[in-house]
Symmetry: C2
Subunit: 457 residues, 2 copies
């Protein structure tokens, strides 16, 4: 069989860095979504770009699927091997290759995680801000166009990846940009690969923008009488141009989960968690302007997290929302989904969504990077209850359609993977055929993460 021949050739190349033991295969077929375990035929651990190119060439010769694997934290099944094939685990390609403090950029291998990068940057006074919660690999974050809590201020991976090195479907290695801050010389291949979910090529090197560590940081929580007043506060804040570093909406159900999971004692009302970055005086000014809006909208007084430790605790709590959701309904499994809409529609969309979830009898949380119009629903499901599973499906589908109705998108940051391919035609119309044309051209055998992102029929 082709796959066996491919594996034999790969074993000659990589020796012990090709693995086919059951436990390892299964681990690479695990996911934080709701898909069954879907392992590859083998896992390889390349050391450098040359090896990745050789791996892809062998796979291409045998029409064998190739799936890049970072830390496996996708919520839409990006890393699953539905058609078998080779999972390329990037954990040994985890070197920060260069830091250029003068130019505010760094060059990293795809297996470097965001926390590792920030640890290596600490002494430079710089940091890499994109923060999806999980300690994901930079390669995975680039491939899925990750964002998270700080995107409202610092942008998503789209804004923070300057250039890539990519192994194409035939093994050719290309560079998609320079270290110049801007360029007008040809098609923006960097942005084509950022968010392509491994379907066009394998990212082997990433040049990232860095940012100066803010002189002052201040974080706070505040509660609101209802969803609308919290969301209206966000809209007013963004419109006033207050450069929020983070502005997160937490609904009253999620607050209950936080209190149960973290032992906090937040009032069970809708909250905003916010953070300000800047000089001492800028942070003070931002906080005062924001405070006035909160007051106007009927919010309660801030609870400040004034020192670094308290702040870390606050954002750890926010980042562990995925786990805290389960505390809302012990014994449940959680299905997570996200959408993004223009912020003028945010209150309406959240209220419609909550009303529908209540009508369907679902237990669910709403948490969001609302400064961007992006929010998540975590549905706590009893997996043995078929009617409830069906209602969760209806809820998720209607949520996606609601996003489109309000000029939004079916995913702000989780991506498509396999989970949301069914919405691609509804969101993109004829543009989807252009995406499929590009996919067919750059990956004529459909070996690069096949069956993900772009429906090919």
């Amino acid at each position: 069989m082709a796959i066996e021949t491919a594996i034999n050739q790969l074993r000659n190349l990589l020796q012990g860095r090709l693995v086919t033991t059951r436990a390892i295969l299964d681990q690479h077929g695990q996911n934080e979504a709701y898909f069954p375990v879907t392992p590859p035929d083998a896992v390889v651990y390349p050391l450098n770009t040359k090896e990745v190119s050789e791996i892809v060439q062998i796979c291409a010769a045998h029409s064998c699927p190739v799936i890049a694997y970072g830390t496996g934290t996708s919520l839409e099944g990006h890393q699953l091997a539905f058609r078998g094939g080779i999972s390329i685990n990037m954990q040994k390609m985890n070197t920060v290759l260069a830091i250029h403090p003068q130019d505010l950029d760094a060059v990293v291998q795809p297996g470097v995680t965001r926390k590792q990068l920030n640890a290596e940057l600490r002494a430079t006074g710089l940091f890499f801000p994109v923060d999806p919660g999980a300690d994901a690999s930079i390669g995975g974050m680039a491939a899925t166009r990750a964002s998270g809590t700080t995107a409202v201020r610092y942008g998503t991976m789209k804004e923070n990846v300057m250039a890539l090195e990519v192994v194409m479907a035939d093994g050719k290695v290309i560079r998609t940009g320079s270290r110049a801050r801007k360029s007008s010389t040809g098609y923006d291949l960097t942005k084509l690969f950022v968010g392509s979910e491994g379907t066009l090529g394998i990212i082997t090197e990433i040049t990232l923008k860095l940012h100066g560590q803010p002189e002052a940081i201040s974080a706070a929580t505040c509660s609101f009488p209802d969803v609308s007043s919290a969301v209206d506060t966000v809209i007013a804040t963004i419109q006033m141009g207050i450069p929020m570093a983070r502005i997160e909406f937490i609904d009253e159900i999620m607050v209950r989960g936080f209190n149960a999971y973290n032992g906090s004692d937040l009032p069970e009302k809708p909250h905003l968690f916010v953070e300000f970055h800047g000089s001492d005086s800028a942070v003070a000014e931002q906080a005062s302007q924001f405070g006035e809006i909160v007051k106007d909208m009927g919010g309660d007084a801030f609870k400040w997290s004034s020192n670094a430790e308290e702040r870390a605790k606050l954002w750890d709590m926010r980042h562990n929302a995925y786990y805290a959701q389960k505390s809302v309904r012990p014994g449940s499994v959680v299905q997570n989904t996200d959408i993004c809409v223009p912020i003028s529609h945010l209150a309406e969309v959240i209220l419609e969504t909550k009303a529908e979830g209540d009508r369907l009898g679902l237990t669910f949380t709403v948490v969001g990077h609302v400064g961007d119009g992006n929010f998540h629903c975590g549905i706590c499901i009893d997996p043995s209850d078929k009617a409830e599973l069906e209602n969760a499906k209806i809820f998720t589908q209607n949520l996606a359609m609601r996003a489109l109705k309000f000029n939004g998108t079916v995913s702000g940051e989780h991506g498509i993977g396999v989970g949301k391919m069914k919405y691609m035609a509804a969101e993109h119309g004829d543009a989807l055929s252009v995406m499929a044309d590009i996919k067919r051209t750059l990956d004529p055998q459909n070996i690069m993460n096949p069956g993900k992102l772009i429906p090919m029929n």
Copy 2:
């Protein structure tokens, strides 16, 4: 002949909005670069997307070149009809279709110019910041990935175009995004078309990010004893994270041109022209921090342009650099070129460039959006002097190669057009073949602005 049949069919469709009079054709073959007049066979003036689609369908049926035309202010010959064909002048598609103040975005037709848009935005408290100097059309700015003086703060067209409507080479109309601030749903076609210079499709609608008009604006000029101290000031400013709204380098030759053309009396030394945006206190803080750097680097005291009129005069002077260059050497023609490098190399690259220009006996200016590492050389040439023309060519080629040597790009903002196609292979290597694959797939007949941007052999 095919072109005549196409023109007859187009005339049936558009009646008086198809023009073949000599003067109009020649006007569409004019350019601000150094190319001979290269007119199309006909100029059409569509009213809407449907007409653009019909025009492209007729052209596709007859394999006839299609060139979108905005305001004709390209510096690299983007709009020229080297292979004849149909120039689509967008001046009648000049409506601001929607302004969404709550979402900080606007939807415009491609013929809207940036000054027109800002005039229509004035009452909203918002503005569109991208400012390439010329009052270019938004469609042209998107197609060429324009930037300019404010990109250091607000980004280029790449960062400010949220979504596009595009007519493809077969007449199909696609939308490349929603009005959501971020999305992880498929290939970033928006960024693929931004900067594609009309070679993949015709942009018929643009959704743009808007920004709040700053509460306070303050501008200043300061002079320096030499190039290095001015450029080192820029590097330190960017590294400190001072959010400059503009930071422009002007060499002593350009200052001489400004003084002659505008009647100003700036000292004939390297200058920085800067602008600060923000709240009153933020602007004061930024100005004070910047002032300290200037002092450390040996610069002279600021000359403030405190009111709106003085500021407008300052930036008009900067924007008219193209014309002021001629005053450096009356009777000369000016060849403009631009490159962009990582800012850590900026002083070295500018000094090498000035030394080479002097060695070659050329008269030239250096002006730049140096916060991004981007600068322009304007070479003032006696067109009757063949040796000088040859030296200008050597200078320009070596400048492009110098950009690549220092990890930069052969154009930061002017683009490739026809002028810089010869450098595409050197800059992009194997990535150029990926661009060519995309071009062939999306425009199999090579009718979309043929002979530009991507060398197809």
